[in-house]
Symmetry: C3
Subunit: 113 residues, 3 copies
């Protein structure tokens, strides 16, 4: 069995943002010249999730509404309390507790055939 | 390393429905004659999830109650608004916004040893 | 391609408990002497999930608060009703419906590069 790795930078412009990467994944699979196997798609940031679902614009609106309802951006997350927090503090640290919790449910990667 | 693929059609009769596929997966693993490795179980429909959990009937009732509570079947999903929706519309399109959102959380596949 | 398997026992002392296993996973990867590939981290218990996220103490508090809010420990789970339940009943069965439902969302394993 052969294994090939590919890397892609994705820049988001708002949050949440749904970015369709199926064309890129298809290109990688073709370039790998592997006919039988599976692809692992993995995100290297813990606020960026990888999911498989239907890319229908109104459904994406439903998903965004759900994520905001379960984990509202404006909420009293301890992770956003920079007065008491000491771990992983950077100069440009942003209050992204909601994004980490959304990611907790959505997950880091997908495997597909 | 050897890779083997198997395919199974599953027909649901209600929703949500929990279908135990462990016997089928076990048969596939035996048929593959692979002793050391992992199995990727993948669903090809974005309203059918694959999960690993305890197959205890009362727990499945709890799961169904939870899914209905978080994503009720009767809710104002944009994806179900066929008067404004234009993408992926089929003749027999059903109002399945709740199923797509449930799937968003549950996920498409499982990998196990 | 080469495949290597490793097993680790983890004992929890409270619930929910977040246990960082990255050092152990790193050791396994080094011991495997595989430079290009992916690691599958899999939990064999359906109340123990494997997730990738930021190990920041206040964020872990946020996660615990979220899990308790969505699936409170004290709730009328059918799975915990030992007067009517008959399947998978052990002598030391504990009322862990909340843990199974939390696991339903969090998932059993992670795959990463």
């Amino acid at each position: 069995m052969i294994s090939k790795s590919f890397c892609k930078w994705v820049k988001t412009t708002c949050a949440p943002q749904f970015i369709d990467i199926i064309d890129w994944v298809t290109e990688c699979v073709e370039e790998s010249q592997i006919a039988n196997g599976f692809a692992v798609v993995f995100s290297k940031h813990t606020t960026a999730a990888v999911k498989i679902n239907e890319n229908e614009p109104l459904l994406l609106d439903d998903m965004a509404a759900f994520l905001e309802k379960i984990f509202p951006r404006k909420h009293d997350y301890q992770h956003n309390n920079f007065e008491i927090r000491t771990v992983n503090m950077n100069e440009d640290e942003s209050p992204n507790g909601h994004a980490h919790l959304q990611h907790l449910l959505l997950g880091t990667k997908r495997v597909f055939h």
